[in-house]
Structures are given as C-alpha cells and as structure tokens.
Symmetry: C2
Subunit: 284 residues, 2 copies
Amino acid sequence: MIVGIVGLGLIGGSMAIDLKRRGFADKVLGVEADPVNAAAAGKMGLADEIVPLEECVDRSDIVVIAVPVGTAVKMLPQVLDRFQAQGAKDKIVIDTCSTKSRIVRSVHYHPYRECYVATHPMAGTEYSGPRAAMPNLFDGRACIFANSEESSDKALRKIEELYGVLNMRPTYMNADNHDVHTAYISHISHVTSFALALTVLDKEKDEKHIFDLASGGFSSTVRLAKSNSDMWVPILVQNRDNVLQVVDTYIDKMKEFREAIDACDEARIEELIHQANRIKKIIR
Amino acid sequence: MIVGIVGLGLIGGSMAIDLKRRGFADKVLGVEADPVNAAAAGKMGLADEIVPLEECVDRSDIVVIAVPVGTAVKMLPQVLDRFQAQGAKDKIVIDTCSTKSRIVRSVHYHPYRECYVATHPMAGTEYSGPRAAMPNLFDGRACIFANSEESSDKALRKIEELYGVLNMRPTYMNADNHDVHTAYISHISHVTSFALALTVLDKEKDEKHIFDLASGGFSSTVRLAKSNSDMWVPILVQNRDNVLQVVDTYIDKMKEFREAIDACDEARIEELIHQANRIKKIIR
C-alpha cells in the first residue's frame, strides 16, 4: 500500500510516522510546498520520497490531504479530477481538515465523489510544521467521519482501517453537525486563548513579569494562543456562522460573571462556578 | 522546628509533605475545620497530629494559614493577638492567599505585625482538598513576598528559608501591585475557563458529544473550570476592581475577534493571531 501525504506538518507528518512503522503503509510519498519544511521533513525521514503533487496522486493508493482548509478546498477537486482522467475508481483521497461543510460541498456533485472520505482526526498540539510531528499523536482520540454515506463502502472500510491503525475511535456525523460541534468544542477555545494572550500582552507591558509569575494554570489556558494563523484563519472564516454564535454566547457568560463580580454578589458567583464545575464529570 | 498548618488542602497539604520529608519541619501540626477533610488528612499522614487552632498556634514556631482568603482575613489578626497575649515575638505566621491587599491591610497597625510574612506561592492545580496534596508541587515556581519590609528581618529570613526548601523562586512586590499582576496572570484565566465551561455546557445539551469530541486543546483550556468556589469567590470579590478591569479588556479583545470573523476579514484575523502568538516567547 502506497500512502501519499500532502502536507508533512503536525497532522500529516505524525500520520506518516505511525502508518509506516505500524505497517499500514509500505511506502509514504510526501508532498510539501514549502522548501524549508520539505528539507526538514526529508531530514526527519517523514516520507520515503518527496515528490510533486501530480506524481503523488498518480502513484499513491491513498492520498491524504493534510493542509490548511483554505488550500484543501481547492486541492480536493483537482485530485478527484485526476482520478477521473485516469479512470482510477479504486483510489481514495481523504482530508483531515477541522471544518467539513464547505469541503464536502465543494465535491458533492463530482462524478468521483465516492472515492473521497471526509475525516477529521481530533488530535493535535499548539505546534505546527514537520518538527511538530510525533509518534502516537492520534492514539485513543476521536476521528470524525463526515457524510460517510457519500463515500463508497470499499473506500470507507479502507479508511476506517487506516484510522484503526492510528488507534482512533470513529464517530459518524453529517458535515454541518460536525461544524457546529467543533465550533463549541475546539474553535471557541482557540479564540478564547488568543484573546487571553492579547489581553495579558496588552496590559503587562513588562513581559518579564508574565514569565516570572505565570502559573501552570495560566500556561495551560493560554497555550492554544501559540497556534498557527495559516491553519486558523481559514477555519474561523469557513465556520464563521457557528463560531459567531458561540462567541456571542461566550461573551454573554463573561458579562454574567462581570455583573456578579461588580455587584460583589457572592451567592451568584458561587452559583456560576458550581454550574461551570459540572465540566468535571465530562472532562477527565 | 514545629510547623503548624491551618488548612490541609492542596496548598497546605503539599507544603506539609515537602517540609517534613525535606527536613525543615521536625513536626507538622495540622488544623482542619472540615471533619471529612480532617479524616482524609489523618489517613494520608499529612500532619503528625490534628489539633485545634489555638493549640496549633501555641505549639508551633511557624503557623501557615492556607485557607480561602475570606477566612484567612479573619484568622490572621486572631493569630497575631494570641502571639501578643503570650509575648511570643519569636513566632511567625504566614498566609498563602492569592490576593494580598486586603489581608495585609487587615493587620497593618497590629503591634505584632512584624511576626507576619505575607506570601503567595504561585503553584497549584485545579483540584482541592487533602487528596489533591502532592509532593514537589512548588518546585521551580515563583513565590511572591508582599510588603516584606513590614516583617522583621528575622521572620523574613526564616520564611525565605522555608520557601527555599520548597525550591521556589522568591519575588518581592507590594500587595497592591501583586493584586494587579495576579488579576492578569491568574485570576482572569479562571474566569475565562469558567465562562468557557458554561458556554459549552449550555449549548452542548448532549454531554456525550463533549466527552467524545473533546480534544487535548479544549481540555487544557477548560481545566481551570474545575476549580473550587470556596477558594475563588473570595478571590474574585477581594480583587474586584483589578479583575473587572481585566475582564473588560478581555471582552474588548473578544469583540475585536468577533468583528474580524463577522467581516471575514482574513488579514485582520491573521494580524490578531500573530499578535497573540507573541506569547510563545514568554510561556514555555
């Protein structure tokens, strides 16, 4: 089995490592547009060969698109076009993007749509690029399959096998629901971290104080603010409507806290904290 | 050296463990008002004896007040009164609270003020109570000494030695500055986590979805929302003015993001993320 991975960053690079060493891929072909990243990926041995996109598509049994979703939306139809031009119905292409509605819509009527499986492996760190790639990144996490009924059974089974090798738990939902849930569970926490970093950087002109005083709690809450704009700008724009809804609810909750603190209303603050504490039961 | 620790929770209990095993305390006397916590602390061997507050004050060389700041503000003058009644100028009392202005003011004119050293060890987790106590909690973190010029040299040196045994880095500032900085670096991240938990719990009626889909990023951003209201209500009320200022700045930053996303202004979102990314240089 030859697996072609387009984008050897955190997600693509980590997949390359585990699919190869766990025996799913006999060979990994890598595509990396950025020459610095290509050199780093080569040095780290993430792929057996770094090749141009067209060659990767032609030689691979499975093509993994692991680039920011703005680029992925343009690339996916090109890959399916190339499958079609060669009559290669047995090939499969997947993407790993964090928003699904738009990318799924972009190929909804493509004659080779069934060769595409839309997935979102819910794993990551705040780092990016080939040097952020690591073994075991996906183990035990959820992988969402979006609109899987639009893929052929054969393609779907093969990609379920791929994520099984990565030890991911498959979850199935339609692309629109996916985008609602990820707005709440992933996208908002990036926006809140970015805003927290901006607030602290704005006010604490003396960065040494932040460094000296930052507790583990602050570091954990702000760590997503290190995340890469190449990845996050298209996510926030593509999932605009859902993200705005969550941001509005979130600002309302902040204002509830603000009012309770402003009034020194201890009973109300306590009630809000007790409600928030319910997250204990859900998040380990 | 006999060290009395009032409140054998996360902070007091963790201090008890390390001060004893690292040889600073020959004996640890514990005070624990809650009978369930007292039983747990006894079982865990956090203190050599659990005693009433008065006995603890009378028998200890150093008294550590490690209870929520609302209670601590009332307890500290009583401890100094008892020192005074016994003419025990060689005894020391410290507190470990997260807000300092009010507690320092509460004993500013006390004749035995110099026996008190105001400290804030900047360490912790989102858990509380004796079972949250752990070895090495303080290693490498900052400990703030507030208004240290109001303590006697002898008392200050002894408490610097105590935190030295806990491997903490001492930092000195006045109580009002302390409360400004901690509003930015600690208190706000608790409020943002509480608000995030409330938002997600409000919208994701199906808690199974949160559990299934929560990525490491979300868990890390929301983990402070597990924090205890007994501790956090008095902190937010005592540091009201500073916290409100930060909350307002924070809401403004959220609104900037909201506007940029609403307008699909990719350049502006990118700029905000780049600014937020500066936190990378400061937080490891």
